[in-house]
Amino acid sequence: MPPQQRDLSALALLLALLVASTLPAGADEILKAGAFSPPRQAPDFSLRGSDGSELTLRRYRGRVVVLAFGFTSCIDVCPTTLGVLAQARKQLGEDERALQVVYVTVDPERDDVARMRTFLAGFDPTFVGGTGTAEELAAVREEYGILASRHVVGGSYSVAHSSSTFLIDRSGALRALMPYGHTADDYVHDVRILLKE
């Protein structure tokens, strides 16, 4: 190739790369949450539900489940997340029944069924809590990669724990993980996408 033609080819390639950097990469609707691909089946569990019955995930097939982990004595992350989820459920309007929030405790010592029921009712009476033995709950956390560690605070203790929530679709697949700090609008956005499938 003559030198002049080579220079022109190089120039054309440079221009093509620059133009390519500005082209839209597709307009598919994407989740605000971090999405897993391929999604795996959400690990199921059997815990004591705050509604008095056995709490399993398969019981909510057909609905989108937001699975959260926390403890009722939490003073910042959990109240914020549950408040956001309650707001999101209201914003869903007619679709609110298609969203189920499940909140599994990381503090079985203090969070019994009655305490969880009272705590969750303050946000939304449809929210269901799950508790069990320390071993049962540790097994659930391991399946989801949830970290929880107990720290002494004054004469009591607190539990540092993973703050993200999981989005489980109507077929029971673990689709996404919503990091802490997202808004009710973001949850509504993602839940509507999952409901459309």
Binding site: A25, A27, G34, F36, S162, S164
Partner: protein, 137 residues
């Protein structure tokens, strides 16, 4: 010929500086290779991912992690099964610290920068993109 090249380069630079950067979505893809866990267990503290990843809002703001290893790996809050990927979009410019078992240090940082707003910033971003292959995926 020299004039033609200089003129074209000037036009390209002008366009790169003034044309807005548009993108519906851009993924920065990183892979945890097969055998990572086994090598770590054997005492090899090698790095397979950069300890710091830079993203740009509205341009390249989705981090995609692929676990090609034989064992589950934790990236930030996510537990990734073998063969699974995790695609995390960012909407707020900030510095994010994550736990990551794929790093020897156990930590990684994601710095999300705002969309280049000025002509100079756009030009710099586009020139920088030419040397960052992941920006073209």
């Amino acid at each position: 010929m020299a004039c033609l090249i200089a003129g074209s380069a000037f036009c390209a630079a002008t366009w790169a500086a003034w044309s807005p950067i548009r993108s519906a979505t851009r993924d920065a893809v990183f892979e945890i290779p097969k055998g990572t866990w086994a090598r770590r267990m054997a005492g090899d503290a090698f790095e397979i991912l950069p300890s710091e990843i830079r993203l740009t809002l509205g341009v390249q703001d989705i981090l995609q992690l692929r676990n090609l290893d034989d064992v589950p790996q934790v990236f930030g809050p996510a537990l990734l099964m073998p063969g699974q990927s995790f695609r995390l979009p960012f909407e707020v410019a900030s510095r994010y610290q994550f736990a990551c078992t794929a790093h020897a240090s156990g930590q990684m940082t994601v710095i999300v920068e705002p969309m280049p707003a000025s002509a100079w910033a756009r030009l710099r971003w586009r020139v920088g993109a030419l040397w960052k292959p992941e920006r073209w995926r």
